[in-house]
């Protein structure tokens, strides 16, 4: 079983997808010779050629818009948006076109486009390189939105996203790109629309995704020393949410803390809190709490450790939940 960094696992997943289906294309800025600024597409242009790994002009709307046209022609493009903060120029093409064409065409036109977006902070970057824009896309009907948190999921989820006939926004936790894991290439992965309980526990459920999963797991380890058993759920799929897994857990623990880097207001935590309150009201021992980035622009990098949820802020929320 090979050991891959998360970035390498994505690279291998992309390679495998391209081998399996000649219609799979990769397109984006610097994805060719350079292999992408994070090297996720390293070596693919050399092996699959410039017609399948396309260095595009520097225009995000163009990347997504032409990917839509290629998909209409029967291709299965995988777009790389270089950084989270650069997806906004493509917003119209994603929200008004990519998400809606299947619906507008009464299901006659499918757009199996995957849009990979490195997201989140923690790497000391300049502004617009550390954002968490997932809620915009979760709010948009017609898109599927997923986030991987580790190398194993990265390898399998990118292949599943590409194989999906629906458009998928694929968030990659950029600060975890270099974290390694043994990747079982032959295993049958969980379906893309399922969350996963990574660590069972009876006291408080912690729901996280992407880069915050590691923070949640670390918090669970620390809480154990205080005698608290935290159950950690990696949401994996943000749209649709796997509410079944969440509700099953909350009905056992009675307590839920949602963790994400994105700002509080109308983030995933808000939707999850509303849903859990609606569906599991009598199981709750405490209100659903959120540990998130603040309702501010992403700050300059010397402040990002204060902005980003960390182990202590998660444990603080756990304590507040248990105190109810």
């Amino acid at each position: 079983m090979p050991t891959y960094t998360l970035a390498k696992a994505l690279n291998e997943g992309l390679r495998r997808a391209m081998e399996d289906d000649p219609k799979v294309l990769i397109m984006g800025e610097d994805v060719g010779k350079l292999g992408g600024v994070f090297r996720v597409t390293d070596g693919l242009q050399k092996d699959f050629g410039e017609d399948r790994v396309i260095d595009t002009p520097l225009a995000e709307s163009g990347i997504v818009g032409t990917a839509i046209g290629l998909a209409m022609r029967g291709y299965r493009p995988v777009c790389e948006i270089q950084f989270d903060g650069f997806v906004y120029p493509a917003f119209d093409q994603i929200v008004s076109q990519l998400a809606k064409v299947h619906y507008r065409s009464k299901g006659r036109v499918r757009l199996p486009v995957t849009i990979r977006i490195p997201f989140g902070g923690g790497i000391g970057a300049v502004e617009h390189h550390s954002e968490s824009p997932e809620a915009y896309f979760v709010h948009t009907a017609g898109l599927k939105v997923v986030a991987c948190s580790n190398a194993v999921d990265a390898y399998h989820m990118i292949r599943q996203a590409i194989a999906s006939d629906d458009p998928v926004i694929f968030f990659e936790p950029k600060r975890r790109y270099w974290e390694k894991a043994e990747v079982d290439l032959a295993m049958a992965p969980d379906p893309l629309d399922q969350a996963r309980v990574l660590r069972p526990g009876r006291d408080v459920t912690i729901a996280a995704y992407g880069p915050m999963v590691k923070v949640a797991l670390d918090a669970a380890t620390a809480a154990e020393e205080d005698g608290h058993q935290l159950e950690v759920i990696d949401l994996r799929t943000l749209s649709p949410l796997d509410t079944g897994t969440l509700l099953e857990s909350v009905r056992r623990t009675g307590r839920l803390v949602v963790v994400h880097e994105a700002p509080t207001t109308l983030g995933l935590g808000a939707e999850i809190a509303a849903h859990v309150t609606e569906e599991a009201f009598y199981s709750l021992q405490a209100p659903v709490l959120r540990v998130t980035g603040f309702d501010t622009p992403y700050p300059s990098s010397r402040l990002e450790e204060d902005f980003l949820p960390d182990l202590d802020r998660v444990l603080d929320a756990v304590d507040r939940s248990l105190a109810f």
Partner: protein, 371 residues
């Protein structure tokens, strides 16, 4: 150039200027252009005349349907028939067209039933035809967005090695959009088999062309690295010849062409618009003299290629078509409420199924009689 030299653009020359490609004058005189020879039989010209008349008649009927409350809105093509029919008839079956929302004449040429165009405007659907069946994409309302889809589609044709081309329709207003300019860049650097067909109808709702550009639009193409042509958009023969040449260049690996069809929006932007607020009646009168249908009629009459019986027969056919379109519009079924949830995804989600189930139960709570 000093800052003082930067004035506002002059209002456009109504004749289209010296570079305008024209094969049929507004008076119906057949003229020749060295770059665009056109061998065309009398029968083919009669067919084009028929297209023009039928397309205008359907458009008039749709406007009437809106006025009578049967359509929520209608975007009239009045005045742009030649640009659309000329370019539409230049297409081969394997070519793909990406319209905006006013290309009813192109839709006609592609064989899309006019009734299917009405669903979007009546509110019974969001795109009533199968793009693959007629190689005519569904309408696109976000201005210019479809030019990128056309470009991507053309990249697909390149990869498939098929001898086919794509045509992207948009207007003078769209030429200011980022997406359109990105499409120009893409088409240029990837040398895609693509024709950009810009109907410059002089107005983007209330904004005249000089609010969009200080230079003639076709001259922009050079800056992107491909040829730009200005054609008389009210001359169906010139539109046919110029588009045919551009499509052939595209199919044979010579890359994109920008065609500026110089025309005029004789009606309102849509039925919700009131052009008397922003333009002079005299301008409309001037363009009426350049009407795209009258010149073909004059040519056919004068050359003896069509007689009164022909014109009467076409008018009768137009009225019959209009009646059929009217009935078809009235017969468009209102969609069932639960179809709101259909086709959001290819692979349905349990989340949306739950919403559907709950809404169904809510509707059922009123009892069968109230449905």
């Amino acid at each position: 150039m000093t800052l003082g030299d930067i004035g506002v653009a002059a209002p456009p020359d109504p004749t289209g200027g010296p570079d305008l490609v024209q094969l049929l004058t507004p008076e119906g005189e057949r003229v020749h252009h060295p770059d665009y020879p056109l061998e065309i039989s009398a029968e083919e010209v009669r067919d084009l005349y028929r297209d023009l008349v039928l397309v205008r008649r359907v458009d008039v009927e749709a406007t009437a349907l809106q006025r009578q409350g049967e359509l929520g809105i209608w975007a009239s093509l009045l005045g742009q028939e030649a640009a659309q029919v000329g370019s539409g008839r230049a297409l081969r079956s394997q070519d793909m067209a990406f319209p905006s929302y006013r290309e009813h004449g192109v839709a006609w040429c592609r064989g899309v039933d006019p009734v299917q165009l009405l669903g979007l405007y009546r509110g019974t659907d969001l795109g009533g035809w199968d793009p693959k069946e007629r190689n005519f994409n569904i309408y696109s309302i976000v201005i210019g967005s479809q030019t990128l889809h056309a470009t991507g589609y053309a990249m697909g044709i390149q990869r498939d090695g098929e001898e086919a081309a794509v045509i992207a329709y948009f207007g003078d207003g769209a030429s200011s959009q980022g997406d359109v300019n990105e499409a120009f860049v893409w088409a240029s650097v990837f040398n895609t088999p693509l024709v950009f067909f810009c109907q410059n109808n002089q107005w983007a709702i209330s904004e005249p062309i000089e609010k969009q550009s200080r230079i003639p639009l076709y001259q922009r193409a050079l800056g992107f690295g491909f040829p730009g042509v200005r054609v008389d958009g009210n001359d169906v023969l010139a539109c046919l010849a110029v588009t045919r040449a551009a499509l052939e260049a595209a199919r044979t690996g010579q890359g994109p062409t920008f065609i500026e069809a110089y025309t005029y929006r004789m009606g309102a932007h849509t039925t919700s618009d009131d052009p008397t607020r922003y333009r002079l009646a005299s301008e409309l009168e001037m363009w009426r003299l350049r009407d795209p249908i009258e010149r073909v009629k004059a040519y056919l009459s004068r050359s003896g290629e069509a007689d009164a019986a022909f014109f009467e027969a076409i008018d009768r056919e137009a009225d019959e078509l209009a009646a059929r379109v009217r009935q078809g519009c009235l017969d468009l079924p209102d969609p069932e409420p639960l179809t709101i949830f259909d086709e959001v995804y290819v692979e349905p989600t349990s989340h949306l199924e739950r919403q559907r189930t709950r809404f169904a139960a809510y509707l059922d709570s009123f009892g069968e009689a109230d449905h």
